[in-house]
């Protein structure tokens, strides 16, 4: 499993990439692997508000429906609308082309609650035991 060092992670298996006040959000390699073939992604509208650790969308595999949790609070400024027609991108490329939303953060203090790549890798290892 691959967990890039320049990202932060949640225990709900989302990643976040911070650039100034903006944060790009997606799900981790572990998450896409656990879900299996992803066939549907439902994202919020641009301009809507997301709240830290509350659901902002839904990802569905053949068998399961899972909520997506936002690592931070803020306004959605961009969504990856390509996932509508190619949800499988989340499986093949979770950290790059499989990104989901970009959020203009309202409280950067929330980042302190998130996990580093090492801490996340350890968490996943413990959880899957």
């Amino acid at each position: 499993m691959d967990y890039p060092d320049d990202l932060l992670y949640t225990k709900e298996h989302e990643w976040i990439k911070v650039e100034d006040n903006r944060a790009k959000i997606g799900i981790t390699d572990y998450a896409q692997h656990e879900l299996g073939d992803i066939v549907f992604v439902e994202l919020p509208e641009v301009g809507s508000e997301v709240v830290a650790m509350e659901p902002f969308g839904v990802v569905e595999s053949v068998k399961t429906v899972s909520d997506l949790y936002s690592p931070v609070s803020g306004e959605v400024v961009e969504i990856n609308s390509e996932l509508e027609s190619m949800p499988e991108t989340v499986n093949s490329n979770p950290y790059d082309k499989g990104w989901m939303i970009t959020v203009e953060m309202s409280d950067k203090e929330e980042l302190k609650e998130l996990l580093s790549a090492d801490a996340y890798a350890k968490y996943v290892e413990e959880e899957s035991e």
Binding site: G36, V62, K63
Partner: protein
């Protein structure tokens, strides 16, 4: 209460193959080995092998076995000859479905019932309770001694033929043979739950691993893949085969479920007959239908079905169909709104995407005609 999960004789093989294991009806079963899409496509394009040892087997034996089964089940067991199987159901006196089953006629006085894993104990108790006193018939639950392997796909026959001593081309759809598979005594039937050609192989537990390994080896040249319960579900859903517990249960009758073809009213008495006859006369209030999503969304069990502002039913199964790349579902709707072509809406997280009732099966299998 004993809550320990059961394991099939093939459990260690699943672990070794790296399967994801889930609790299904009290069994630790493989849900997928690679991905559901992959496994699904392997069955549709070549061959897949399934461990279905969790299914239950109940033998019904004795001079009055036929008479007893005629009473217990809705199909006409007297039409069965030796080496033939029949899809049937057991209903309760109110016509509700106790289980959907396969009946194998081993001989005039010996039948084997293949029943759903989740219902095995319930069915067995139901059968015992409904065996008429004084009749020469006994039932035995032999589930814990039998392993069952399903081999499905257009190359299933070629793969199984290499290790079987019977001429499989002589076994017609819904027929079976007692024969040797890799030297092991087996029951081999041309049956399945995928819509594809294929076989189900019953052996004693202790031989299940050996048979599985041999079939995997024999199927190598055809790209055989082990298939978990995930793809088993998408495969059967594309055919609109009902799954007990989802699409049929003790809250549905065969008539509502579109299974009237199984019920033989003219065969004499059977449990549930009177209620079903009355329902037939009255007409059913709801029907099990198949639908395709027109707008974006994937239907799932328990989602509500609407027609405008009126709730007209519920989804019982749904998925993204791997073969059709469309979201499909089945569910019960009011009978007067169950026509093919009818547009309905599915309540998916409080949005109401449109769907259309369609003819089923959803997927048309490319049938090779056997002469």
């Amino acid at each position: 209460m004993n809550t320990k999960l059961k394991r099939t004789p093939l459990y260690e093989i699943h672990k070794k193959l790296g399967a994801k294991i889930v609790d299904f009806a009290g069994w630790e079963m493989p849900v997928q080995y690679s991905t559901i899409m992959n496994e699904h496509r392997a069955v549709r394009s070549s061959a897949g092998i399934f461990d279905v040892s969790h299914m239950g087997e109940i033998e019904v034996r004795g001079r009055d076995a036929l008479k007893a089964l005629q009473l217990l089940t809705v199909n006409d067991v007297s039409r069965l000859k030796d080496n033939e199987c029949q899809y049937s159901m057991m209903c309760n006196p109110d016509g509700w479905i106790v289980d959907d089953i396969l009946i194998y006629r081993l001989s005039e006085e010996k039948f084997m019932l293949c029943v759903n894993a989740s219902n095995t104990e319930k069915d067995y108790q139901w059968i015992l309770k409904n065996l008429t006193a004084g009749w020469a018939v006994e039932a035995e639950n032999i589930s814990d001694t039998i392993g069952q392997i399903s081999l499905q796909g257009k190359n299933a026959e070629a793969i199984l033929q290499k290790v079987s001593d019977a001429d499989l081309s002589l076994i017609k759809y819904y027929c079976f043979r007692r024969c040797n598979v890799d030297g092991v005594d087996a029951i081999v039937s041309r049956t399945g739950y995928t819509g594809e050609d294929g076989f189900e192989v019953y052996v004693k537990n202790e031989y299940a691993v050996k048979i599985w390994d041999r079939l995997m080896e024999s199927g190598k040249e055809y790209g055989i893949k082990p298939v978990g319960l995930g793809a088993r579900d998408t495969l059967r859903l594309e055919m609109k085969y009902p799954l007990y517990g989802n699409d049929i249960s003790e809250k549905n009758t065969p008539l509502e479920a579109g299974l009237e073809w199984v019920v033989k009213f003219n065969k004499g008495d059977f449990i549930g007959k009177k209620s079903l006859q009355e329902q037939k006369k009255r007409g059913v209030r709801r029907k099990l239908i198949g639908f395709e999503m027109i707008e974006r969304g994937i239907p799932r069990p328990h989602y509500a079905i609407f027609k405008g502002s009126r709730r007209i039913g519920d989804v019982t199964s749904g998925t993204m169909s791997p073969s059709l790349n469309k979201a499909i579902g089945i569910g019960y709707v009011q009978a007067d709104m169950s026509n093919i072509g009818e547009e309905i809406e599915i309540d998916i997280r409080a949005s109401y995407p449109k769907a259309r009732i369609v003819k089923t099966p959803f997927y048309k299998v490319q049938v090779q005609v056997k002469v």
